[in-house]
């Protein structure tokens, strides 16, 4: 080949290199990461006729139905179908209201500095997707500000109930409410944009998007954020978290029989049991989606490992001690010393959700154990796991958990006293708490499930109940005191900014002192 001929290659070579360079640029990378995440997260269904608009809390406040002033009469003489003190509870107790303020706390500021963010927290997109509402569209933001949208309001009403223009006035003005009220829950969503949070699956997905994470919505607490000061994200159990907000809504069983009929509660149905089981399946599913989205992202494909945030925090974060319970425990025969596994809590409660359907329990359980073992294996196969194989294994678990969630959430699937009693009795068999060793988060998940089932049985047995009978619940609380002392089953309520730090500190102390050998005796009280 002549010298001249050789130079002919230069043109195409430059083109190819420029192309490769462009494909590797941060913008294209982020775009491609998003597309890949899209493969993992199904495109969300949008309402057909409603248009996006983010109302501020003011829209729900002052003289309206959620501020402690129930209207004298409502459409066609029907009862108001809410408790009417939602905002009062929200302002008084609910931490979601403080979500943005925590970014301005000393901890938040320090995090911002360490992460190299702009001084103004209103620009911190990676935080605001969960700590407030991130609109991300100038025009829409401007329009929303005209209806009193304020990022300072944190996770505001429409963050969960639907950031759409139509449903807000439609459900609250007497004239339009007449037309709105008789609509089905799905029509209220599809035509007006009011999210159907009474559907356990929808609620689970919504809560899990922050409490587990959702890469497509850019909600992900990375290890870098933790290292800069973000408190450890606790494990997530939907039924408990709903109660602990505290609930600013009534469970259907607390409503009048007329409303139960109108909204849809079968006689004798135990809704919290259903919520617990669906929440368990969705938490795993969305954890697996988070894992897949990270594993298939371009930066991981280009050689970075999975984000450390996916891994078991306390596998590394413990003091090294010669007399440690970890050394006493040793390793499961299928696991490899020195390798870090998945954060373990999300796989636990699914076992209970599988047990809910007696017919399929044994085959599903065997399949599930294998899928989890396969995932653990590829986590152990190299430090930080093998991302491609992790994505494949997570995809299978995602599918499994999704199908489980769908089967549980069918409106025909009604849980009654017998189901809940059976599941409560199954806990010692499934989890063998007197012999097996659990990490803090998993132990908490199991304990929460146990508590939810136990309390729902106590509650449902009060005939014609509208108000809670506290004496029965108090008895359960007394029984669970040992577990509560060990794991703090109650979650903190609203407080101002940094004073939550003392709460984190006691949580960290409990985790630091966690000894699964000692915990077994407390769990032995599960009956």
């Amino acid at each position: 080949m002549s010298f001249i001929m050789r130079w002919k290659w230069a043109g195409p070579a430059v083109v190819v290199w420029l192309l490769l360079g462009w494909l590797g640029s941060p913008h294209v990378r982020a775009q491609k990461d998003k597309e890949l995440a899209g493969d993992v997260y199904p495109t969300p269904v949008e309402p057909t006729t409603a248009s996006k608009l983010y109302y501020g809390v003011a829209a729900c406040q002052g003289g309206s139905c959620h501020d402690g002033k129930p209207p004298v009469s409502w459409v066609d003489g029907k009862q108001v179908n809410v408790r009417c003190d939602e905002l009062i509870r929200w302002k008084k107790y609910d931490k979601h209201d403080n979500a943005f303020l925590s970014l301005q706390s000393p901890r938040g500021k320090r995090m911002g500095q360490l992460l190299g963010y702009d001084p103004d927290p209103k620009t911190w997109k990676t935080c605001l997707t969960c700590h407030a509402v991130w609109i991300g569209d100038d025009k829409l933001e401007k329009a929303s500000k005209e209806v009193n949208f304020k990022v300072e309001e944190g996770v505001n009403c429409v963050a969960c109930h639907g950031h759409y223009e139509e449903w807000v006035p439609s459900h609250s003005i007497l004239v339009t409410a007449r037309k709105f009220r008789p609509l089905s829950r799905s029509e209220k969503w599809s035509k007006y944009g009011m999210i159907d949070l009474k559907d356990p699956l929808k609620r689970a997905e919504l809560c899990a998007s922050c409490h587990v994470g959702n890469m497509a919505q850019e909600k992900f607490v990375t290890h870098e954020m933790y290292a800069a000061g973000h408190p450890p994200l606790p494990s997530f159990e939907l039924a408990t978290f709903s109660n602990e907000m505290p609930r600013h809504w009534q469970l259907l069983r607390e409503k009048s029989p007329a409303l139960q009929k109108e909204i849809g509660l079968s006689p004798g149905e135990l809704e919290e049991t259903k919520l617990l089981l669906i929440g368990a399946a969705v938490a795993l599913r969305d954890n697996m989606r988070l894992l897949q989205a990270d594993a298939v992202s371009n930066h991981v494909k280009n050689g970075d490992g999975l984000d450390i945030a996916h891994f078991d925090c306390y596998a590394c974060h413990h003091d090294l001690k010669a007399d440690s319970w970890r050394l006493k425990r040793g390793y499961d025969k299928n696991r490899k010393p020195g390798r870090v596994g998945l954060r373990p809590w999300s796989v636990e409660l699914v076992k209970l959700a599988i047990a809910a359907d007696e017919k399929t329990a044994s085959t599903r359980s065997a399949e599930y154990e294998k899928l989890v073992a396969d995932l653990n294996k590829v986590f152990d196969s190299r430090p930080y796991g093998n991302p491609t194989e992790v994505a494949a294994a997570a995809k299978k678990l995602d599918k499994f958990a999704h199908e489980l969630a769908l089967s549980l959430s069918s409106p025909k699937r009604i849980f009654k006293v017998d189901d809940t009693t059976r599941l409560l009795k199954a806990i010692p068999t499934i989890y063998e708490p007197a012999t097996k060793l659990y990490d803090y988060d998993s132990a908490r998940q199991i304990s929460w499930a146990h508590e939810i089932l136990k309390k729902e049985l106590v509650r449902i047995r009060i005939p014609g109940e509208v108000q809670e009978d506290n004496s029965n619940l108090v008895a359960v609380d007394v029984e669970l005191k040992g577990i509560n002392d060990l794991l703090r089953l109650r979650l903190p309520r609203k407080s101002t900014g940094e004073s939550l730090s003392s709460e984190y500190q006691t949580t960290l102390e409990r985790i630091s002192k966690w000894d699964p050998f000692r915990a077994r005796s407390v769990f032995a009280s599960f009956k």
Binding site: H223, H317, G338, S512
Partner: protein, 433 residues
């Protein structure tokens, strides 16, 4: 346009061909049969090395070793409770039959149990004796005889320790082994040398009275040798299968292994990392073997170190780049090592080194490992000159801070010095300026 399409169509695959690494770097096979290890029994004749004289005296090398040298107990350690636990965690079987353990706790791999049972015997350091056992005492013995390792040279003496105490391509304590229960390795040549029950007498050329700078030399040589060994081990780890990459043992244990209770110290760590241009939550490459060479080394060495440090900060460092930089740094250190063996350490230079260490309160703040290396350096350098009494007191005070960083009743082989407080150590460090 058509030209462009055609040339791209042909050019792209061709370009990819060029980009693929060639497979011609096959090394010629090793044809020589390695010399055989014969075991300590052949050295233990009464008239040779088992004179049963005073410990450490000439002719009583074996007697000294078998009586007080911990290396003689290395094999027996494989039967203790810690070893049994490690082996159980590794999947069962016996530690004394596991080649990984025998590489350092016995006489090497592929040897009969009778020889392994010697522990770390003569030939682990002096070389397999098959070819030289019957000639090494004769006049005119050729020290280049196959298998013989000439340990008179300080550099090769240091290297002989590094094989096991740091590791090499056939011996290592990696994170998998540590997680199974093996203590991490934390070797510092001068300190180990000072505490070693020597089975040899000083020869004239290294008599302390004749070479008053010997302590400084041991420290400088040891630092270069251990850093060299650690870098070669890093390169070996990077060059191997990605199944073990990144190797967690390359990182500072305490950077991950701490509970989450002490928030303020964690935030301080994050701030220090950010100040160094790192991100919070990255794993910092370990300091133990490299903190001193990075302080005292040449500009060229520091550039290599910076490159390794940058790469190791990535979650999955690019193994090829790490291996290349580590090998290059190891080469520089090999040259430093040879120079350090023959160099003279005048009071002026010792003072300069002392000040270099004493001024680095930022290094002392990095953690216990870095602080301990500063202390070990100051201790060696202080022992070089006529030691003023107050130095001993200062060194003891530093030692107390370092030992005091362990919780009461801790086993320092396993526990981390979680109570380390730089604020207590730094004022003591300053006294050496």
């Amino acid at each position: 346009m058509r030209f462009l399409i055609v040339t791209t169509a042909i050019g792209l695959p061709l370009l990819l061909c060029f980009a693929t690494p060639s497979r011609s770097d096959v090394r010629p096979g090793v044809l020589l049969v390695p010399p055989v290890t014969v075991g300590v029994a052949s050295c233990a004749a009464g008239s040779c090395h088992h004179g049963n004289g005073n410990l450490g005296s000439k002719g009583s090398e074996y007697s000294t070793w078998i009586a007080i040298d911990p290396h003689a107990k290395a094999y027996r350690a494989l039967f203790n409770a810690d070893s049994r636990r490690i082996q159980k965690n590794l999947g069962g079987g016996n530690a004394h039959e596991n080649p990984t353990c025998l590489a350092c706790h016995g006489m090497g791999q592929d040897l009969p149990a009778s020889i392994q049972a010697d522990g770390v015997g003569c030939e682990q350091c002096h070389g397999p004796a098959e070819k030289w056992k019957s000639s090494h005492y004769l006049p005119g013995f050729d020290r280049s005889t196959t298998g013989f390792v000439d340990l008179r040279e300080l550099g090769s003496r240091a290297d002989s320790c590094m094989k096991c105490h740091v590791g090499d391509e056939t011996r290592e304590v990696n994170h998998d082994l540590i997680a199974a229960g093996h203590p991490r390795l934390k070797f510092e040549f001068a300190a180990y040398y000072a505490n070693y029950p020597r089975h040899w007498t000083y020869r004239e050329n290294e008599e302390r009275s004749l070479l008053p700078d010997q302590e400084a030399r041991l420290w400088v040589v040891g630092q270069a040798a251990s850093a060299r060994a650690a870098l070669d081990l890093l390169a070996t780890r990077a060059e191997r299968s990605e199944k073990n990459w990144p190797e967690f043992a390359e990182y500072d244990c305490a950077s991950c292994h701490h509970d989450l209770l002490d928030e303020s110290s964690r935030r301080d760590r994050a701030s220090r990392m950010v100040a160094k241009g790192r991100k919070p939550g990255e794993l910092p490459w370990a300091d133990w073997y490299h903190v001193v060479p990075r302080l005292t080394g040449s500009q060229a060495l520091r550039i290599r170190y910076a490159a390794i440090e940058n790469e190791m900060a990535r979650r999955v460092p690019r193994a090829k780049d790490v291996a290349r930089e580590a090998r290059a740094a190891a080469t520089l250190l090999r040259a430093d090592l040879s120079a350090a063996v023959t160099a003279k350490y005048a009071a002026e230079q010792v003072n300069r080194l002392t000040t270099t260490l004493a001024r680095r309160d930022d290094v002392a703040a990095d953690g216990w490992d870095s602080a301990a290396q500063l202390y070990l350096g100051l201790a060696a350098l202080s022992a070089t000159r006529d030691v003023p009494v107050d130095r001993k007191a200062d060194l003891k005070a530093m030692r107390d801070v370092l030992y005091g960083s362990y919780k009461p009743g801790a086993r320092s082989l396993y526990d981390l010095p979680t109570k380390y407080d730089p604020k207590k150590l730094i004022p003591l460090l300053k006294k050496f300026e």
